[in-house]
């Protein structure tokens, strides 16, 4: 038995390594995906005032702080028993769409495009965004510009791009200025053009990746996403729906407060990332996926014209629900376009400029849960407080966690298909990393949970015998 370790898995958001075990014939016998960073938010937030939670939990992730701010603020809304004013909700939706644009741009252009455009087998020293700048400056610049467009909207609304303090329990803390609205609208056509061009380009190269599409985590699973009453995606306030691999609804209309009836969590001995599962199916059978691919699979329609056309084509190409994890990229680009369309719709609603944007209240309920679609999938924050509003208990289920079991399986499938024999080439290993990249995992998010502080103190006697081991 021989072990190959990929450490770290590069061009992902977080800390992970992969162990691949080869048997004596050089066949892949087993693979392990280890998430190696741990935090501790669920414990150290206990005792803090609930209204600090958005700002603290934003620090779970610098890529999608807006997602944590929103899920946390929604949990706080529930604790206060209030709904934000209509403009407060629209502004939260707007910043959320901007976050999808910047985060999806980062995932596609900065992290995965080097594999797709420079090649899985290309020189690893240049297989990155900087290599892309030299080789395909137009594509690299499109990525920089789209990410910037999303980040500038966040900055325009919230004053800061990373960890803004604008999203608060009860709404947001300042209305939208008319000049900011005009500025964003002025930038939209150029951003739309870049998104559409990239999507068209991606579709032209899909055929080159037939082998990857076939073997990149292509086993059917259940899917979960948040949908509105007409069955379309609602990233900010949809109700949770689970469907099976053939597209049949298993459970729907699930509110944040009821998530525990449908989602269980399992701990894994070899990863700091827990593994949620669909409770009615049990563990480990209850594997489901979330994120762009899952959202497009559960959505009846997107609800915006350009993305709706793309959704039809997406399902035509996949011949129904798309199961290959390679198609996360494709789905992500369609969502990027949808996000830009939604931004336009929201900005053209005159109510977006209303100045009443925040509801005020003290603690009215001792428990609250908030659920949204983060760019990587469903994000749930669930808090219990005492009557003074001090946090007593926290649970968070984070987008990438839902995909944990599926990522593990996908890693195994890719390794078994592409790795064979004694002469293991770098490009083979890069494909194993690349299937992880397709999920755009955010491991800093998923390991907010605390792990082991396994410091061992050993007391050794002068003669070398171990007297006592503490740890």
């Amino acid at each position: 038995m021989r072990k190959i370790t990929i450490d770290p898995v590069t061009r992902i958001e977080g800390h992970a390594k992969i162990d691949i075990y080869l048997d004596d014939q050089g066949h892949v016998a087993d693979t392990r995906f280890h998430v190696t960073q741990v935090r501790g938010f669920e414990k150290f937030c206990e005792g803090r005032p609930f209204y600090e939670m958005p700002s603290i939990t934003a620090r779970i992730c610098g890529i999608c702080p807006v997602s944590h701010l929103l899920a946390s603020a929604k949990a706080c809304d529930a604790i206060m028993g209030v709904a934000p004013p209509p403009a407060g909700i629209k502004l939260r939706e707007l910043i959320h769409c901007a976050q999808f644009v910047q985060s999806h741009a980062l995932s596609f252009f900065h992290l995965s495009a080097p594999d797709l455009l420079l090649g899985f087998d290309s020189d690893p020293a240049r297989r990155n965004i900087f290599g892309l700048i030299e080789d395909n400056p137009e594509m690299a610049k499109a990525g920089v510009a789209l990410r910037k467009f999303g980040q500038e909207i966040i900055e325009g609304l919230a004053k800061e791009r990373v960890h803004p303090s604008w999203i608060v329990p009860g709404g947001v803390n300042a209305p939208l200025a008319a000049d900011v609205r005009s500025r964003i609208l002025a930038g939209l056509p150029a951003a739309r053009a870049l998104a559409e061009r990239t999507l068209e380009f991606f579709k032209t190269v899909l055929d080159r990746f037939a082998e990857e599409i076939e073997n990149f985590g292509s086993a059917p699973t259940m899917y979960a996403g948040l949908v509105n009453e007409s069955g379309g995606p609602d990233w900010y306030d949809g109700l949770l729906k689970f469907q099976d691999a053939d597209g049949k609804t298993l459970a729907g209309g699930i509110r944040a407060r009821d998530y525990q009836r449908f989602i269980g969590e399992a701990s894994l001995r070899d990863s700091y990332m827990k593994a949620p599962y669909f409770k009615p199916a049990g563990y480990p059978a209850g594997v489901y996926r979330v994120g762009p691919l899952a959202r497009l699979n559960v959505a009846g329609a997107m609800g915006t014209p350009a993305a709706d056309r793309e959704l039809v084509e997406f399902h035509q190409r996949a011949g129904g629900p798309a199961h290959s994890s390679f198609h996360y990229h494709y789905a992500r680009l369609i969502e990027l376009l949808h996000g830009l369309e939604k931004i336009e719709v929201l900005l053209n609603d005159p109510a977006i400029l209303e100045t009443h944007v925040r509801s005020h209240a003290a603690v009215n309920c001792l428990e609250g849960a908030g659920m949204i679609e983060a760019p990587r999938g469903i994000l749930i924050h669930h808090y219990k407080v005492d009557e003074q509003g001090a946090i007593r208990w926290v649970n968070m289920i984070v987008a990438t966690g839902h995909n944990n079991l599926a990522i593990n399986r996908a890693v195994g499938q890719v390794a078994r298909h592409f790795i064979e024999g004694e002469n293991v080439k770098e490009g083979m290993l890069n494909r194993v990393s690349a299937v992880v990249r397709a999920y755009d995992p955010c491991l800093s998010c998923s390991t907010h949970a605390d792990g082991t502080l396994a410091m061992v103190v050993t007391l050794i006697a002068p003669d070398g015998t171990v007297v006592r081991r503490i740890g």
Partner: protein
């Protein structure tokens, strides 16, 4: 002129400092012209290379793996920069420091799970007792606070360092 060798490292942080680095937007293209990024979450190197000119570190030192990594990095780097409040003070990762380990473990992996209730121990690094700022374990040449530091501050720091000057950060950065 030889291109500088630049590395970026993400220890126990949220990647917000790396995002702020990318928030330099088009200016990142200029950095790419002047320096080779030889290690970091954006590139594919598996091992920290030798003879790096500047390494920018985000995050606190929290696990045994972080500690070993930062010691190697220090040996192989001319100028080590602590970027952001977690690297500079411990910040949010250090909020765990006042809690005993075992209770936290049980809270998350035993109480916080309905199936397979085990504490992870295989193939994952042990944590240090406390998450600590980088300068507590190795010598740091420059501290750039902020949660995260602004893109403007990062751009200025990199520009000055690549020009061979020590940046004067007076009035350019703040904590938080």
């Amino acid at each position: 002129m030889r291109k500088a060798r630049l590395a970026t490292v993400w220890l126990d942080g949220c990647s917000g400092c790396h995002m702020s680095l990318l928030d330099m937007d088009e200016l990142i293209l200029n950095v790419a012209k002047r320096a080779d990024v030889v290690y970091g979450p954006l590139v594919d190197a598996q091992e920290f290379p030798k003879a790096v000119d500047v390494t920018v570190v985000e995050g606190a030192v929290s696990s045994q793996e972080d500690l070993e990594k930062i010691r190697t990095i220090r040996q192989r780097t001319k100028l080590l920069v602590s970027l952001g409040d977690c690297a500079v003070t411990g910040n949010v990762p250090a909020m765990r420091n006042s809690h005993p380990a075992r209770k936290m473990l049980e809270r998350i992996y035993i109480e916080g799970a309905q199936e397979s209730r085990v504490v992870p121990t295989d193939g994952v690094p042990a944590l240090l007792r406390h998450a600590v700022p980088v300068h507590e374990v190795v010598k740091v040449d420059l501290h750039v606070p902020g949660c995260p530091p602004s893109a403007k501050a990062i751009s200025y720091v990199l520009g000055e360092l690549l020009d061979g000057r020590v940046p004067d950060l007076t009035a350019k950065v703040k904590f938080g």
